[in-house]
């Protein structure tokens, strides 16, 4: 049965469907204009996500339990990474140090091996090792699970008798160690006097010059913090000038070698004035001198 209603003819030809041309509502018009505002768009693109992230984080970490849990989780992760076997240090090796120094170092660096290398404070350790007087320099590194220390020790050059006892000093006057008595190190020369420890290089050069007299030398004494006295056995002293003491000493040595100055009975050789070296004789020698002079002058007794 066919439909009773007639179909309307399809409209062909010039007939077309009217193009829709809807007007935007005020709201959508304003919205579009708002979205075209550069500042607003920037706010939307940057400000809104930032706000959301901050707000989410703020809400989540608002409670103390979650905050603690998060901190815990972070520290656990950190610990897990730090204690991986690749990062563990199990040994310490000290090279270039004498046994006493090595013992000292082990004392001042109390590390319980094995330990993670993240827990080792190498700069701090280096500073504390350098505080040891006997250590000139140290380099620390970690290699293949071992803490390597390359120590450069100070070598004692002189024995210094100061206010606080007898100590060993190196070439530059740095303290190396304390010794109970001067006799502990008879191989090293002795220096004494106030300020002597600050002029160790000069003392050493004087002592080097005085090498021909080495058997007689007792030590060097700093006088008035400005010049040296070379003290010899038999209560003899060579008083050296402030300036150029080495040259003065070499003059004395030359005199000794030619005129046997030091084997004579004198108490002091005063070289403080360069133009006028002076001798002080002992009492017996002085009497003898006077007697000889009197004989020479023909004076009667």
């Amino acid at each position: 049965m066919s439909e009773m209603t007639a179909q309307r003819p399809k409209l062909g030809g010039i007939r077309r469907v009217e193009k829709r041309d809807p007007a935007p509502s005020r709201a959508s018009y304003r919205m579009q204009r708002l979205m075209l505002t550069p500042l607003f768009r920037a706010t939307l693109r940057v400000g809104l996500p930032a706000f959301l992230i901050v707000a989410t984080a703020g809400v989540y970490f608002g409670s103390a339990e979650r905050r603690e849990a998060a901190v815990m989780w972070v520290s656990e992760q950190r610990h897990a990474v730090e204690t991986r076997p690749e990062f563990m240090v199990g040994l310490m090796s000290i090279e270039g140090a004498s046994d006493e120094v090595a013992t000292d170092i082990r004392e001042i660096i109390p590390v319980d091996f094995p330990v993670s290398q993240f827990d080792l404070d190498l700069p701090g350790m280096r500073t504390s090792i350098l505080e040891l007087d006997a250590v000139a320099d140290v380099s620390l590194r970690i290699h293949a699970g071992t803490l390597l220390m390359d120590i450069e020790e100070r070598l004692p050059s002189v024995v210094w008798r100061g206010m606080n006892g007898v100590e060993l000093l190196d070439l530059n006057g740095n303290r190396v160690a304390g010794v109970p008595a001067r006799a502990s190190r008879p191989d090293l020369p002795l220096i004494a006097g106030v300020g002597a420890e600050r002029e160790v290089p000069e003392a050493l050069s004087i002592l080097a010059e005085a090498h021909p007299l080495r058997d007689d030398i007792l030590g060097l004494v700093r006088i008035g913090e400005r010049r040296w006295d070379l003290v010899l056995t038999g209560d003899k002293r060579i008083m050296l000038p402030e300036d150029n003491p080495v040259a003065a000493l070499s003059r004395v040595i030359v005199l000794d070698q030619t005129r046997e100055l030091l084997s004579r009975d004198i108490a002091r050789i005063d070289m403080r004035l360069n133009q006028r070296p002076t001798l002080r004789m002992n009492d017996a020698a002085r009497e003898e001198m006077r007697r000889i002079k009197a004989i020479e002058l023909g004076a009667d007794q």
Partner: protein
């Protein structure tokens, strides 16, 4: 009148601000369509520097980056008839253009095609204080023009100084700096109905837009459709629009007369609708596709399906010959052109040295119109299309967009109007700071 003076001044400042911001829209509110073009100003002319063309009157300074048209709703005779509808139509056009341009538009320059414009030629003269013409003297001579009574409820839309004369020398374009004793000026003033302007401004304001200028549609069409020589030597631009037909007469690059005939393409459409007993939309299509004003023999055999939607077979399958359509259209088009002829005669168009007539607007696309217009308006008739501007879509280059394009040119390079000159000093309020500064500057 003082109010409008100030608001025009404010609009001019706003236009300047909009151009500095870089984006301004032009809005052509017509009776059949509403067109919106978004212009982007890229600073000073970049072509000027390298090819020696010069400023090109600001035409190379902007680029059309968005264009949209929409069917006009609620506008009749170029005047707003239903405000809500018009506002929605403006919103549609602006939104689409903004979407295309992808920028937000805050300032628009609008046209007004109806509102019964009336032209006045004013003149005034002043004695110069010192023998050199200064900016202030120009302002004074413009202020000295004796203003006739425009009538109730009318406002000045344009006030172009068209001519300056110094003593016995006339035809000066720019008298500033010249020597003389008496300066006189001719000014062309175009007044429109205040209510219509206010309605349009209100409509635009309702769309959250700021009005940066307002221009007569016939003037804008003339700016874009007349070539430079025609503007210089004297020509009339006839903008055959949908609801009204605007005409503007140009001479020495200034508009000297403008008027509107309240007849247009819509009347042709309604004639067809009545004559063929078809709906208006159908009539519009028949006019656009098969319309014409000169019938030939073949048109009798060119049958057009008129269609219909009533369900009555006999009625819905009617056909008419094209000759019949032409027979309906021609008298109405003749009437429009004769009305235009009357206005031109009243304006004294036949005294111009050159009497070029340029037909533009959507109505000028009727085939054979130039032949018909030649018979009515005189021999020197041509069909005009708006000049080309950068970035204008192909769809918007037709004569229907003459006033839109003209508005673009107006936005880029407006002619000096009365309110662009300094306010005459004696019109300042008594304790004006500016006046005090001026006095100091002159005396020390």
């Amino acid at each position: 009148m003082k109010d409008l003076y100030r608001s025009q001044r404010a609009m001019r400042n706003m236009r300047q601000a909009a151009i500095e911001r870089g984006v301004v829209a032009v809005l052509d509110v017509g009776s059949t369509k509403i067109a919106c073009l978004v212009l982007r100003f890229d600073g000073p002319d970049h072509t000027a520097a390298n090819d020696g063309l010069g400023g090109m009157a600001g035409q190379s300074a902007f680029r059309v980056i968005g264009a949209a048209t929409t069917r006009s709703r609620g506008v009749r005779f170029g005047e707003i008839d239903a405000m809500q509808e018009t506002e929605r139509a403006i919103r549609t056009a602006v939104q689409t253009a903004q979407k295309m341009a992808n920028v937000r538009v805050d300032h628009v320059i609008a046209t007004l095609s109806g509102a019964r414009p009336r032209s006045y030629g004013l003149d005034g003269s002043v004695e110069l204080n010192d023998s050199i013409v200064r900016e202030q003297d120009v302002a004074q001579v413009l202020a000295a023009c004796d203003v006739p009574d425009f009538g109730e409820n009318r406002e000045v839309l344009h006030a172009h100084p068209v001519n300056f004369a110094l003593d016995n020398r006339s035809g000066l374009g720019d008298p500033r700096g010249q020597m003389g004793t008496q300066l006189s000026a001719d000014m062309h003033v175009l007044t429109v109905e205040a209510n219509v302007v206010q309605n349009l401004l209100y409509c635009i304001k309702r769309c959250d837009l700021e009005v940066a200028g307002i221009a007569n549609a016939a003037y804008a069409s003339g700016v874009s459709s007349l070539v430079e020589d025609e503007q210089e030597l004297g020509a009339a631009c006839i903008d055959l629009g949908g609801g009204s037909t605007g005409l503007s007469i140009f001479m020495k690059k200034h508009m000297i007369y403008a008027d509107t005939v309240r007849l247009g393409g819509d009347h042709v459409t309604s004639d067809i609708s009545k004559g063929l007993q078809v709906p208006l939309t159908m009539a519009e299509k028949i006019k656009a596709r098969h319309g014409g004003v000169v019938a030939t023999g073949i048109d009798d055999r060119d049958m057009i399906e008129v269609g219909g939607d009533t369900g009555d077979w006999e009625r819905d399958r009617r056909t008419v010959s094209r000759a019949e359509v032409i027979g309906i259209m021609r008298p109405r088009v003749e009437e429009i052109l004769e009305e235009v002829r009357g206005r031109l005669d009243a304006a004294g168009f036949d005294h111009l040295p050159s009497q070029q007539i340029v037909l533009t607007g959507g109505g000028s696309q009727i085939p054979g119109l130039d032949g018909l217009a030649t018979k009515i308006l005189g021999q020197r008739v041509r069909l005009g299309r708006p000049m080309r501007v950068q970035g204008l879509p192909q769809a918007a280059t037709g004569p229907a967009f003459a006033s839109s394009v003209g508005l673009c040119l107006y936005a880029a390079h407006p002619q000096d109007e009365w309110w662009d000159f300094e306010i005459p000093a004696e019109r300042y309020p008594a304790r004006s700071l500016k006046r005090a500064v001026k006095w100091f500057r002159e005396n020390w």
